[in-house]
């Protein structure tokens, strides 16, 4: 049975917002605009997650997750040693998409900053959820793994959407080209293991694309 959680706004990491907006650090000239954008988003953001706990069995590159099975070498490596996992979908709602659309017309700078805020917000929500999952199951969480990472193709989104019924539970839908609406949303599988089975990789470390613009400093 799919479970649902609603969160209060997690604390904001402004450094991340600046990074997503293409700034190296806290740029004074952008600061005033950013504060305005933050104020405008405060009322429109919602923080919702739906999820399903799963039992995991990994054999070579096949991950048997009970409700679905998936062949992926990279996911198998990520889940190796985990007996449990949680598949989840998270979204911060359509309000920010509307603001981005509005400012795309009026002020592309604000649109860019709003987009960066949205990205930081959804990541913060996922972090809060994964921290919660660790506590709830008293297990240690691996870095969350999403369709599109490594050799796990985007079409896997369809399976996740079907199992979680995201549209009904948190208002999240998938387009024919496998894009999510609202756009500031994430689906992922997070492996849960008994011990600190090797210090889990954080964020960008798990990704092979070292040329990525958004790769965070390690």
């Amino acid at each position: 049975m799919v479970l649902i959680k609603t969160y209060d706004a997690p604390p904001m990491d402004e450094h991340e917002v600046f990074r997503y907006a293409g700034c190296k650090g806290d740029e004074a000239s952008v600061r005033e605009l950013l504060d305005g954008c933050k104020a405008e988003t405060a009322d429109v953001l919602t923080y919702k997650v739906c999820y399903l706990p799963l039992d995991v069995r990994v054999t070579d590159d096949f991950c048997d997750l009970g409700v679905f099975g998936v062949r992926s070498k990279h996911l198998a490596r990520n889940l190796d040693g985990c007996a449990k996992a949680v598949v989840f979908a998270a979204t911060v709602g359509v309000g920010i998409d509307r603001l981005i659309a509005k400012y795309s017309v009026l002020s592309p700078t604000k649109a860019l900053l709003l987009d960066a805020i949205g990205t930081e917000r959804i990541e913060a929500l996922c972090n809060a959820f994964c921290d919660d999952a660790e506590k709830e199951y008293n297990l240690s969480a691996r870095p969350r793994y999403s369709p599109g990472y490594g050799d796990l193709g985007l079409p896997f989104q369809k399976e996740i959407f079907s199992v979680l019924n995201c549209r009904k539970h948190i208002g999240l839908s998938l387009s024919d080209s496998l894009m999510m609406s609202p756009s500031k949303s994430v689906t992922a599988i997070v492996g849960l293991c008994e011990t600190e089975c090797g210090k889990p990789l954080r964020k960008c470390e798990a990704c092979g694309n070292t040329e990525c613009t958004f790769r965070s400093a390690l």
Partner: protein
């Protein structure tokens, strides 16, 4: 007994949850429950029968997700057929004594509608139509549209039900903790939309437990003139010892249900987590309750996709600026398909505080149905005010009403039989509040009495079409006082009498009254005040006219409508700032040397750049300002970006400042031929892709560097792009794609462009692209950012 008749006299008990019961019987996560109609009919019949036995009057078929997006046609038909047959079998087997009905259950399509998602409105209507037609074919007695979390999708389903059946239709929505739908609609907005579409009942279901939904239900009871539905979850699901349980018991659930029935709820059931025991408990507790009568509320209400605006409590301001009459720049925008211009007019009026936006795009040279439809959907993508569809073209009116998300105002109908015959059927079908002009075949009566008579005639005709008085607002017509000294008096008397004698609301286009006079503002604002005092409910007006706005705020203060005079004080502050704005925008001494403008652009100060440009133009030729100040400023920032000393937000701030400077230059050059274009650049986000932030950045920079950018938007089919490039003989096209799944659409677009427009150079960009990818799909150029696109465009055009 038919359902509508039963509903008038009784409390109607609906069924409870199905999903939870199916899971107990083995439904797996991700499995389509609708297939159980065929695979396990006994299980479905058993569940339906248990609800009838528990006291439900209405059982909903197991067809929540039975739609053409999820199932192929044959299977869909088999599912709906089996679902109805299962419900009928359950009804036949149940010996419970109450009246029993079968509702065709329709849940959301599973897709989000455009512009937020990728399902077009008409495609959604078609999806629902297929299911409705099957339901009708196999014997549904009513249609229940439920768990809707988007007002637009609700409208699509209601329209489908209306166009494919004569059955009673009920609609209930899933409201969140904030008391709104996922896409933002308030309960009042849903009442306006749903009643406008003619629902038999409306309400809440799913999403939350009974207590959390109580405030939403109370809000619905306050506004609705049709019966209200209450069908919440048994609280929220929790995981307890590895099992999922809902946290509200049948006992606690039925307490809240009973409380709300006593307050006026007329249909009650349950959603996720509720079982026949819940329904039984509700029935036991409320069987002896007398149903409260459903009173018509007579509230004149229009709505957007977020909120409703009700007439009567406060004067309503309707912004009139989206209208080409007498506006050269606006006409040009319409002819050039410059949607951004129309949108910024809308946003600017919203910022001035109007409640509703009038939308008029009537020009002889244009295809009005298409342009009006596009204007309405573009405005609704970014502005949450209700719109007033303003057109005399009936085809355009219908197109716009159909795709409008909410309940709009319709401007206008009048006392001529031809007008009423054309407009009232549209009001009845799509919902809306019609502005009715008090004129007829004999023209505009000279007396107030004559105008009141026409108003009465209009009300009688409207009633024959099933359009209620509350859905008509009269415009008794403000005529020019300089042509007829009695004109204003007659109008004011008509306003008062229509309000007092007919109990209807009125509005006026204020500024007509002063036509032909010098210093029109004092006449307009005084007339506005007089009209408000005579009971005027709304004004179509120019929100940039400070006198009018201050009159509005002053009226509210004097009528006790503005607590602590807060709105007035805030408005007065803004008013004083406009009046006392410094004449010299260059408030720092450095401005004298002519570099202040350059600095303003480099620093990204939009307003200042515009003001300084205006000032510089008094001393220098437009092209001199462009070449000596704006372009060098842009260049220094562009080079800074390329050298990584300036970051993207700063580059954009400068670009916006430069754009505002260019706008000033443009208006100075009007009629003298604008700045010469370096060339046409067609730009689009490819089909299937709905993210366009990067594309918009490229567009802004290209415009600043002197290119004419034709922006085709997002999710654009290859054919549309080829057609635009061919028509404009554009030397350059830019395509963007965000994800690997949309790169094939980019490749196809390139293939078609090579065939249809071989001269055109193609630049590609977007998060997922790389040089290799660009080479593989045959692009001429991969640009890693906006500046690189600009440099490439300059290189190709040789400028």
């Amino acid at each position: 007994m038919n359902f509508n008749a039963y509903l008038q006299q009784n409390i109607v008990y609906l069924d409870g949850g199905t999903g939870t019961l199916l899971q107990e019987r083995g439904l797996r996560p991700g499995e389509h429950p609708e297939r159980w109609n065929i695979k396990h009919p006994d299980a479905i019949i058993e569940i339906h029968k248990a609800y009838y036995d528990a006291g439900s009057n209405v059982v909903c078929t197991n067809t929540f997700g039975a739609n053409a997006l999820k199932f192929p046609p044959d299977e869909l038909e088999a599912i709906v057929k089996a679902a109805l047959s299962n419900a009928k079998a359950a009804r036949a087997r149940s010996t419970a004594p109450q009246e029993k009905f079968i509702a065709l259950d329709i849940g959301p399509s599973g897709k989000l509608l455009k512009p937020l998602g990728d399902l077009a409105f008409e495609a959604a209507v078609d999806v629902f139509k297929t299911t409705v037609a099957l339901g009708v074919k196999y014997g549904a007695e009513l249609i229940y549209i439920e768990t809707m979390s988007d007002s637009y999708e609700t409208k699509a389903a209601l329209l489908a039900a209306k166009e494919c059946s004569d059955l009673p239709v009920m609609a209930s929505c899933a409201y969140g903790e904030d008391g709104k739908l996922m896409t933002g609609a308030s309960p009042a907005a849903m009442v306006a939309l749903s009643e406008g579409m003619g629902v038999a009942a409306l309400g809440v279901n799913c999403s939350l437990g009974p207590k959390q939904l109580r405030p939403v239900v109370r809000e619905l009871l306050r506004y609705a003139s049709v019966p209200v539905i209450f069908k919440p979850n048994a609280g929220l699901p929790e995981a307890v010892n590895g099992k999922t349980v809902f946290d509200v018991s049948a006992e606690a659930y039925s307490d809240v249900a009973a409380e709300l029935i006593a307050e006026g709820v007329r249909l009650v059931g349950g959603c996720c987590g509720t079982t026949p025991d819940y329904i039984r408990a509700v029935c036991a507790k409320t069987r002896r309750f007398a149903p409260l009568p459903v009173e018509p509320k007579n509230i004149t209400m229009v709505s957007s996709y977020t909120h409703a605006v009700a007439f009567g409590n406060q004067p309503i301001l309707i912004g009139e600026r989206i209208n080409p009459t007498g506006k050269k720049r606006f006409k040009q925008a319409l002819l050039e398909n410059d949607t951004d211009y129309i949108l910024s007019e809308g946003v600017a009026q919203q910022e001035k505080g109007v409640d509703v936006l009038d939308v008029n795009v009537g020009l002889p040279q244009i295809d009005e149905p298409t342009v009006l439809k596009n204007a309405v959907s573009s405005l609704q993508a970014v502005i949450d005010l209700p719109l007033q569809i303003d057109t005399s073209d009936i085809a355009a009116m219908e197109t716009a009403l159909r795709i409008y998300n909410g309940k709009p105002m319709i401007n206008s109908v009048n006392g001529k039989a031809k007008s009423m015959n054309a407009v009232f059927p549209l009001v009845k079908k799509y919902g809306g509040v019609a502005v009715a002009l008090t004129l007829d075949e004999n023209g505009i009566p000279e007396t107030a009495q004559g105008r009141v008579e026409i108003a009465k005639k209009i009300l009688t005709a409207a009633a024959q079409y099933g359009v209620d008085k509350k859905d008509i607002v009269f415009d008794p017509l403000a005529l020019t006082v300089s042509a007829d000294a009695a004109a204003a008096q007659v109008t004011l008397e008509a306003v008062r009498r229509i309000r007092e004698e007919l109990g209807a609301h009125t509005l006026l286009g204020i500024s007509n009254v002063s036509f032909g006079l010098p210093a029109r503002n004092p006449v307009n604002s005084t007339f506005f005040a007089l009209a408000l005092e005579n009971g005027l409910s709304a004004a179509i007006m120019n929100p940039y006219a400070a006198d009018m706005m201050m009159t509005y705020y002053a009226f509210r203060v004097l009528k006790g409508l503005d607590e602590n005079c807060e709105a007035y004080i805030a408005a007065a502050k803004g008013f004083a700032e406009t009046v006392n704005a410094p004449k010299n925008a260059a408030d720092d001494p450095a401005a004298e040397d002519g570099s202040a403008l350059r600095r303003a652009i480099v620093k990204g100060l939009k307003e200042k750049a515009a003001a300084l440009t205006k000032e510089r133009l008094s001393a220098a030729a437009p092209l001199e300002v462009v070449n000596n100040e704006i372009i060098p400023a842009l260049n220094s920032v562009g080079v800074g970006f390329e050298n990584k000393t300036v970051f993207l937000p700063q580059l954009l701030m400068s670009a916006e400042a430069a754009k505002s400077a260019f706008e000033i230059v443009k208006s100075a050059l009007t009629g003298k031929g604008a700045r010469a274009d370096k060339g046409v650049f067609v730009i689009a986000t490819v089909q299937g892709d709905i993210h366009d932030i990067g594309k918009n950045i490229v567009k802004l920079l290209l415009q600043n560097y002197g290119f004419r950018v034709v922006d085709l938007g997002k999710d654009v089919p290859p054919e549309t792009i080829v057609q635009a490039v061919r028509e404009l003989h554009a030397p350059l096209a830019g395509l963007s794609a965000l994800m690997t799944t949309t790169v094939p659409a980019m490749e196809e677009t390139i293939r078609q462009l090579r065939r249809g427009a071989p001269w055109c150079k193609i630049v590609v960009g977007g998060a997922v692209l790389t040089q290799e990818y660009a080479d593989a799909i045959g692009a001429d150029k991969y640009a890693k950012d906006a500046m690189e696109t600009v440099r490439y465009a300059e290189q190709i055009t040789g400028k």
